[in-house]
Subunit: 95 residues, 4 copies
Amino acid sequence: MIEYIHSIKIYYRDVDRMGIVYYSRYFEYFEESRTELLASIGIDITSIEQEGTTLPVISSHCDFKKGAKFEEEILVKTWINEKPRSTLKINYEVF
Amino acid sequence: MIEYIHSIKIYYRDVDRMGIVYYSRYFEYFEESRTELLASIGIDITSIEQEGTTLPVISSHCDFKKGAKFEEEILVKTWINEKPRSTLKINYEVF
Amino acid sequence: MIEYIHSIKIYYRDVDRMGIVYYSRYFEYFEESRTELLASIGIDITSIEQEGTTLPVISSHCDFKKGAKFEEEILVKTWINEKPRSTLKINYEVF
Amino acid sequence: MIEYIHSIKIYYRDVDRMGIVYYSRYFEYFEESRTELLASIGIDITSIEQEGTTLPVISSHCDFKKGAKFEEEILVKTWINEKPRSTLKINYEVF
């Protein structure tokens, strides 16, 4: 298993009229977090793509417990349990 | 059951380096589509919120089959099967 | 001169904590509007790009008079005065 | 004069089909950078808003020299020359 904890600060651009992060932005935070997970083990996606491999998302799911607010810092824990095959499951927890 | 089919044109802002719509944007299209589903039966969310009710998303899921491309028009079918209670399941299909 | 008036409805994704459209989204609306201006005279950008020409923005400016609100429809008038050369000035007015 | 240099890493979400950051995202980076400029002198915008003051952008301008790419880190220098009055001019340079 590999695991990485990444800190993200919330800016105005992502906060909606309810005062919490607009729901789809979490998927952007997950992209950022998995990029940092890979960077932490020396993998950059630019190089992977230059070798002709793309990494499209094929399924995504998120349960929203509590809305993050403007100027808060959230921690995103990202982990991969299994050995990567043609598809890869990446897990995220925000706290 | 209520159902609505909404057309969305894809602009540059949503298309990534792979030439397809960046995955989280579909959740924005779903928000647009459910807003139009509600508008089609005479409900606007602004009025609902003014009465003190907010409608936060509590769970979202999407399987991605095929990436939409710049200047394409997609159709989003949105439907609600069940009678709304405190939570509401909204379904989407893009084609 | 060519001119086009394009209607855009405001969704939750673009509205911030002040209840108005977040400022950078207007530049996305301008992209949408110039794409529709070009479409109205039979030009699609996908074809232009396939011929090897890209159209990067080199300068952008916006004065904000009044914030558009959720579920409002705005009209964006887009016009080009001059004959296009290597650079092109596109004008927008929101009302 | 106050000045702050803020580092931003570019993620997939902001990169378009030309392989460079989509133009409007720079305005999001400027928002992030001015928030950090203010944080560096002990000011948080949440507190300012709670006292009843909002800080809407009234004009924005950007000249684009060179497109930042995915997984690059850019530096945004933000500075304020003048003494703040009812309006405030904030300058940015990306390098």
